[in-house]
Amino acid sequence: MNESVKKSAHIPSKDSDLVKAFQTGDTTAFDALVLKHKDKVFNLCYWFLGDTQEANDSAQDAFIKAYRSLKKFRFESAFSTWLYRIAANTCKNRLKSLEYKQKKKTVSLHNPGEEEDAYSMMEIRDESPSPSNGLEMKERTILIQKAIGSLPSDKRSVVVLRDIEGLSYEEVSKITGLNIGTVKSKLSRARLDLRAKLRGIV
């Protein structure tokens, strides 16, 4: 069954058609949707949570929730928008868990300026003498991931959706449930924070 789904997944198909097919009883249509969106959902979860296993579990949870609610989907937004919103909320809920917070090991949290948000400031332990010492790409990516992970949840979701996923302000607004003005302001602050944290690295 999986092979047939994989073959059918290579055939260009609109999300709306697949959703309709699923709603009319074709359960394989959902597999096609999963294969089509799994990488973007997983990428969102990974940059949101900063951990591969957590991202995998959250992405699967998001697809399971989508599977259970897809028959009630009314096409008021794009399927991808609806799916990413489910994934973003799943990641937010997972972030709130104490278990996830305890897994923060290499990042020391300190926020003297904004005490209400413990993730707004982060000191990355960069033992290199200067930014021009030629950090490897992998190391730079890890530092960027940690800097994003230090952002508050709202800022993090906005910057991930906009700069990493490449979504529009409108899509980010629909996914996060924030109005466009708030998205703009949160995105601006998130970028300024990241720039401050990654000064000399990026």
Binding site: N2, V5, N43, T52, T141, V159, L192
Partner: protein, 327 residues
Amino acid sequence: MECSGIKDLLSEYIDDVLDSQTKAEIDQHLFTCEACSGDLASMKALVEKLRSLAPVKAPDDFLEKLHERMEPRMSFKKAMRILFIPGRIKIPLELATAAVVGILIFSLINIQQSQKMMSSIQESSSDVEISEDNSMHMAETKKIKRAYKYESDLEETRAPELAKKREVIQLALLLKKDRAYITYHPKEDTAGLGYSGKAEKRARIARQAVPGDETKAETLEKEDMFAERVTEESPQLKGKPVSPTSGLSETLSEVKNRIHLMDGKVISIEYDNQTGHPKSLHAEIPAKNYLSFIDKLKNIATFQIPPPTLPTRSTERIEIHISFMPL
């Protein structure tokens, strides 16, 4: 527009979402402000860096794992297949199942047999209440019941024996003093005593003869006559004293005669090994003739102790043991 205002709008300036007038004002400020131009360059580098990050792909088995979570029945089937397909797991499980079934059947058969035994015990001992809480009482009751049963069985086995067994009546006879004169003939008084002895003997025989039974009386008289003839024809015995033994023997013979007269039978006679005297006689007679037999014996000898009366549960024939007690 001042620098603080410019910094807040740089993010939108990069994304090109500002209106044309605001964008023109920022362009004019950046043209003259190196600091804000530097900030814009660093923010552009950050955004470009973020957008250039390589996307992280989902695992290849993402859909399969998703199916396992969404359809637990499929995983259950897979687990069952994993459990029972390998022979090293399947065969021991089948053997264990067979063993358990065998044990269950064996235990069921044993339970049924024990129930049958219990029901048979309850049926046989209807007067014994079997209580599960009082098993000791039940055991004791059974034991007592068995004991009673054994005794009743013994009674049943003894009864015929007692019925068959004849009662032995013990009698002890003392020889009368005058009986010694009958057989004892002193040398000086031979004729007189002998005559008187014969006359008395004939009279006694006549008395002893049962009325209507003259044949027996004649027989006894003939025997006595033969005894007299022997006495008269034996010159060596004549005039000599007769030993007391001969008196006992005569008494014995008379007793035997009475037994025969009563339709009885002499079973055995016991003699003393040293003296040769008859010690006792064992005989049997019909129970109906017991009283008349006792009367006859009173004429022959004296009872050492009064003869016992016949038991009420008398049988057809009784046995009599007579002990001779010479004076």
